[in-house]
Symmetry: C2
Subunit: 222 residues, 2 copies
Amino acid sequence: MPAPRARRSAGRPHQRVLTQENITAAALEVIGSRGYEGFTMSSLAAKLQVAPSALYNHAASKQEVLRWIQDDLMAEVDVSAFASEPWEQAVRVWARSYRSVFVRHTPLIPVIAVLQVSGAPRTLAMYEAVTAGFLRAGWQEAAIVPAIVALESFIFGSAFDAVAPEDIFDTGSLADQSPLFTSAVAAAHAREGGKGAEEAFEAGLDAVVRGFSGQLPVPGHA
Amino acid sequence: MPAPRARRSAGRPHQRVLTQENITAAALEVIGSRGYEGFTMSSLAAKLQVAPSALYNHAASKQEVLRWIQDDLMAEVDVSAFASEPWEQAVRVWARSYRSVFVRHTPLIPVIAVLQVSGAPRTLAMYEAVTAGFLRAGWQEAAIVPAIVALESFIFGSAFDAVAPEDIFDTGSLADQSPLFTSAVAAAHAREGGKGAEEAFEAGLDAVVRGFSGQLPVPGHA
DNA sequence: ACCTGAACACCGTTCAAGT
DNA sequence: ACCTGAACACCGTTCAAGT
């Protein structure tokens, strides 16, 4: 005679496995070990020890899972400097952190571009902290959102650039058709020694930040 | 009694159909009418009136076809201003043109990031013209490539942003958790009236260009 | 309420067989 | 040399059937 089933018995609630948090965490594990090419609904289900079709009781689509990941990652972006540092310094800290998070997740960038902020609380929290920092620095309200969007565009573009092969600008057999560019590539390479993406990001960041700074009230003169 | 086959007869050479140019042109037609979601090796083959497997005698993969398209589009980018206008003006013309071409082709952006310039003659020609303009403006050689890469990053990021829905920043039910950002979004929207991406691009372009300009020799003082 | 297993409608790509 | 047709090894997603 079998014992009465223990499942759902002892008064403690049934342990839900396929929550948004668990799915997101499992997805990040799969991506971490197998990359985005290896991240399929099948591999995600396997990690959770469940049939692929079971996922669709909790997520509407793979796109939705990607949105969960995206919002999760936003919490890793460092916005702390906006509460304490001067604006120029704070934007640099934020931009470097933002880029470094998404360099490892470039396939998400097309997802971000479509991400509705109303369903992404951590993304929204980041924007709130950044906006607070801009206001504190004396930015006029209507100029803040365009500036944030412009900075984000630069950050996402730079994240893509960071995953490009180093030798992308080798002109090869076409060198004689592009003497100026070929020489410029050699000069840049001689100076930076293989960290081209980093150098380009810092140069661009410097330019945007100083460009924006130029139209701000001088601190202490408000 | 059948007539002798006319095929390959009359002394004129056999008309090749599946050339790189023809495939690229057909691909652009398919993308133009059905978008990138509708662009498959199957739909491309149908446009060329050929079996899908026939394509693999001329292109190694779908990725290669995408690279052909990418290089083809680069020829549309307007670099003419670098030959005549002052640097600031020329970069703006180039950047706007570059962005407007790839706004309609954002799925190519991840392809570009990996595109070897040695196999992309039109891309290389663009870089050559841009480099010439930078040199003419007095840029030091080693700073040119990082600056171009930074500008490109901003342009690609902005192209992504341009295809995002307008209401992406509606905070919805989370508005009370993000009062500063919600208010900033409203202020921006009141000023620009729905052309947010354009405004952000112009603001960012202005900042980078002025930021870079600040470290250039004054024209006429060389 | 939520899981399984089978099925569906696709993909890109390969390859033997033809001409 | 280059095309066809069939096949392969996948995808994401749906859905009837179970518990």
